[in-house]
Amino acid sequence: MTGSAIASLRARLAALAIEDSGAMGAQAETGDETAPGTTQAAAAAPAPVAAAAQDRFRLFQMALLVFLTAVCVAPFAIVLVVSLGEPLPGKAWDWAFSGQNYTRVFVGLDWPDSTSFLYLQRLMWSFIYAAVASVVSVAFAFPFAWLMTRGSRRSQTAWLVFLLASLSLSEVFVVMGIDILLSNRSGLPMVFRETGLTQLLKDTGGFQWFRDMGLASPRNVRFKTSVLATVGSMSYLVFPYAVILLYPAFSRIDASMLEAARTMGARPMTVMRTVVLPQVRVALIGASLLLFVFLLGAYVAVTVFADPAKQTIAVSIYESVRGATLNAPFGAAQAIVLLVTAAAFLGLSTLLARAGGPRDPSH
């Protein structure tokens, strides 16, 4: 097998998870790597002792499966069960088998008398933020991953440490940093004011454009709260992730093919278009999809940077489960809608990876 990344394993695990839950009918082999131990281990095993050990291990595996089901799978099932419950007056709710919470998510509480698409609208904002941010970050990560993999293994390692460190930094710290960078007193608006850019914009009439875009108060530019700040901070959050996801595909580009193309007189842009792009196209789309799923659940950046009218379903889930509105079954129903959406896109990226797998030029 080829050196597989956390990222590609993540995708593969997703495939397994989806298959297991039966959401996808196809029971095809998972990608390029199946457990290599099977045949050799069976051939090498001296019969009776090994068989006993094998049985013990199977028993242990079964026990482990019970435990993992309880902590890894059951929570999702519980969300589903709770989502069918009935809210009672006050803060309580009761077990039931009702679809009313889903009705409320899709068409509002008073349906069929009146319809409200409030929660679908929030889901739409989840989609918009996640889609734009994932595409933006992959677009910026593409040249970065390309340049990075042209360097020596040593420099690649250094870049990976840098990327992993910034990738793992908590959303709350990132939001804190961007919050300062956009703050009126010491961030970009201050820079605009102090450098005279604000005045220049006002003089030339460009300021009105910022006002129209909702990016300015009467006195100065203002980036919080705005769609730009939300999408920007979300792109920032996943940029290192995007590079890491693209890294395997880029590091496997055959250098000799590039040289051959060059020798035959192809210009750099032509090489990029005819040699590099076809080899990484699947990785680019796959990375965008994975980041999209990841960003669907983004929470801190949205609560801080998004306009109250443009909040996402993730924020709404929190409000129902722990926050102001307290309606657990309704929160659970929204969570299931988000879950199904995420699983559908994960399934799509897995199908894509499989379709693209055999064309992997290194094999």
Binding site: R10, T34, A35, Q61, C72, L169, G177, P248, V293, A343
Partner: protein, 269 residues
């Protein structure tokens, strides 16, 4: 190998600055003498570090919680991941695959849904808001990371070593102890540290399972979000980014980071 032109270098530098900017700003803000987050810092002092690590109980307690949960959950995640990865490596049986699927599920689906579900589950069991429930939650969430690294490690084992061991009469246990365990140790350690750093920084799942009974550093910062950030929180950010940089440098030093991240082994220039 293609050489990187000046435009490429400029782009790399620009991206680096872009990634570093919020982090640098937060770190610098920790030096503020006053109560507000200004950049550049006013009246610089190191007093915030003393507050964060020593005097302010709310921060020392959260830091202790963060450390305990990160260490314990990463350890538990690695322990759980080992047999799962080993099973997948030995045989691709439905049981092994079901284990892999169950272990990877929380990590690939939106964490907010997993957090909500765990919140309900611990509440039904009457252990919502206990530290133990928090540790198990993070272990379940991050188990996919050691599972991934250990799987990569197992796949790197030279088959001929195992065959040689079997030929010379080694039992599976002996082969495991003398061949498998030593060769996968760096990968196991990497998985542990990945889980550790991610748990340290994780926010949303902990938010639902702690139920305000205790807080970690990230939770405490989020809770203070409405009242605005203070320089003491920035010290937390410095601590976290330094921890991550140290841990990943160690992983790079003792393991093969490019391979872990999916580079092609044949290109080891």
């Amino acid at each position: 190998m293609t050489r990187i032109g000046w435009a490429g270098r400029a782009y790399m530098i620009w991206c680096t600055l872009f990634i570093a900017a919020p982090i640098v700003v937060v770190c610098a803000a920790a030096l503020n003498g006053g109560r507000s987050m200004l950049f550049p810092p006013q009246d610089p002092t190191l007093g915030r570090f003393v507050e964060f690590f020593v005097t302010e109980e709310v921060w020392t307690r959260s830091l202790a919680n963060s450390v305990v949960i990160a260490l314990a959950s990463a350890g538990l995640a690695t322990l759980l991941a080992w047999p799962v990865a080993y099973g997948l490596w030995r045989s691709n049986s439905p049981l092994s695959r079901a284990l892999g699927a169950a272990g990877g599920m929380p990590f690939v689906l939106p964490p907010i849904v997993f957090g909500v579900g765990l919140g309900f589950q611990w509440a039904f069991m009457g252990i919502l808001g206990t530290l133990g429930a928090g540790i198990v939650s993070h272990a379940a969430l991050h188990m996919a990371l050691p599972l991934a690294t250990i799987s990569i490690g197992l796949q790197s084992i030279d088959r001929s070593h195992l065959d040689a061991a079997a030929t010379m009469g080694a039992t599976e246990g002996t082969a495991f102890r003398t061949v498998v365990a030593p060769q996968t140790l760096p990968y196991t350690a990497s998985g542990f540290f990945f889980a550790l750093v991610l748990s340290f920084n994780e926010f949303i799942v902990m938010f639902f399972v702690s139920a305000s009974a205790y807080s970690t550093v990230t939770l405490q910062i989020f809770n203070s979000l409405r009242n605005g950030f203070t320089p003491t929180m920035a010290v937390g950010a410095i601590t976290f980014i330094l921890t991550a940089a140290l841990v990943f440098s160690a992983v790079a030093r003792f393991g093969d980071l490019p391979r872990l991240m999916g580079a092609d082994e044949s290109r080891s220039s």
